[in-house]
Symmetry: C2
Subunit: 320 residues, 2 copies
């Protein structure tokens, strides 16, 4: 591969000059610039990232660790982020957590040799705090937590789950529902309770399941025994619940109303009212936050909370 030395020779200038041209240093005589640029194009010169990284101690690379769950969003965000990075000449290094195959720690270790300028991840726990601290302090990698943010000391971008569940519940109440079942995580249950309270309804714990590994049959059983008029179900549980509804041959929204938290493809295909994450907003805020952190190494970490919103479709009926 052709390098700066070759290019310099071909142009009859020094490597220093070539470097200046490639890096758009204005202190180069226009004619020289033209000459070098032309030769670079003709010879197909591409600067060697490794050499540059080594010299500058900066990789122009951002890493992202994708957890096995919540795939959907990550994927959609990925493309957007990469486009933003691209604009600034940055690269995107991706690492996955695969249940039973790779852990977050593996991903972190894999990433660390790349001397990332920033790292996007969704830490489930504080387990790798020490490692992250090392990345952050030793390698100067800016950490941005997304969706989940167990660490106080790093930047974060999370969705207001409380608000989302609150909205879903409020919407159902507004439509006349009183016996509303909630099947989801603990973190979002608060919004459910809160909306009930706000409407002067009592909270019935038997209408709530916080079990993450819930099975179809159990949900079906819960539905038959408790007889809710509406259900809010989150993420994977939404899928399980939907299957349960089909198994029970309950028609939505005639027999029962349904709201899914997380507007994924199948939810739309079934015309299910959903709480959605504004993905492009998330991605754009993420990109902004990322570069801000990179450009201002000493600024305190930014923390953003983004509100989800309800997409009204046809899975909720009005009860008089």
């Amino acid at each position: 591969m052709i390098n700066m030395k070759d290019l310099a020779k071909a142009c009859g200038v020094s490597v220093a000059t070539v470097s200046r041209v490639i890096n758009a240093d204005p202190a180069v005589k226009p004619e020289t610039r033209e000459k070098v640029l032309a030769a670079a194009k003709r010879l197909g010169f591409t600067p060697n990232l490794a050499a540059r990284s080594l010299k500058l101690a900066k990789s122009r690379t951002v890493g992202i660790i994708i957890p096995s769950i919540s795939n959907q969003f990550y994927y959609e965000i990925l493309g957007y982020i990469e486009a933003e990075l691209n604009k600034r000449g940055y690269h995107l290094l991706v690492s996955f957590i695969q249940h039973g195959v790779t852990t977050e720690r593996d991903a972190l270790e894999a990433m660390s040799s790349a001397r990332l300028e920033a790292l996007i991840l969704s830490p489930r726990t504080c387990d790798n705090g020490e490692y992250l601290r090392m990345l952050s302090s030793q390698l100067n990698t800016k950490i941005v937590q997304i969706f989940t943010a167990p660490f106080e000391e790093y930047g974060s971008l999370v969705v207001d789950d409380f608000y989302g569940t609150y909205e879903a519940t409020r919407y159902l109440i507004e439509h006349g529902h009183r016996r509303i079942m909630y099947i989801g995580g603990d973190n979002r249950a608060g919004g459910y309770k809160s909306a009930l309270e706000a409407a002067g309804l009592s909270y019935d714990p038997s209408l709530v399941s916080l079990d993450w590994l819930l099975e179809e049959d159990i949900v079906a059983e819960m539905i038959t025994s408790k007889g809710p008029t509406a259900i809010i179900a989150v993420a994977r549980q939404a899928e399980v619940t939907w299957r349960a509804l089909r198994k029970l041959k309950l028609s939505v929204p005639d027999d029962i109303s349904f709201i899914a938290f997380d507007d994924v493809k199948w939810v739309g295909m079934f015309d299910i009212t959903a709480i959605a994450h504004p993905l492009t907003e998330i991605a754009s805020v993420l990109a902004k936050q990322l570069f801000y952190a990179i450009d201002n190494p000493d600024a305190p970490p930014e923390k953003t909370v983004i509100k989800p919103y309800l997409i009204e479709r046809s899975s909720v009926s009005k009860i008089k």
Copy 2:
């Protein structure tokens, strides 16, 4: 950040020895190895990828360019591939093509400075042939085409679409269907025709649409006017067709049978019989092919064709 020199000093050995230990060179006295390894762990040493890449003229990095369409598969494959790369200490650099934002060319240019050892992509056309040739010859990047393979000269891994459509058609015929509609791309239409012929049925062009940008209403119109007993629809068209069926209030499989080409999430949720790509197989073959090409730079490019398979669900009825 701590480097080999620091580590060497801390252990009272030379950088060469440290390098040997880090690279698992067996020619190091066990005690020395232990000492270095312990210090490396204690001090949190991570080899600098940039320096190594520069020195070895190898990046231990594989790139993948993700086209805006056919997202689903890419995403599922991504995680798998990355796991394989990880096992060998390789990294995965990802670039996206975004309609109206980034072109394949942009992605290629972004990637080229990373000195990839291999590049996975789905070239739609031969447009960037020259650039790929440069990557391949100058940077020694091994090119692997996936799903589409317009270039003869590089390795490829494609799915036998002909076979998939053939199987779907055969399956429907076996179930007694005679008026089968096909809505999909030109490339897969052959299998449809072929299966009809094999069954002694005549090919009716009015039952076929090869329009990639088909609209729901047009499909609905086609269905009403032609009255097929079964439909095979591909990828995005499957979605459009499904919506059309719902709009027509046709019940599947009672009123009409349906097979989707590409087993994506929603297809499963609707319990639709589908032609599926064996994603884990694709990913594992891809990984194998990738490393084979990297490890054997002079071997001729491998070309693999993978057969899709039919997942029997409940969207096809038997006609007597």
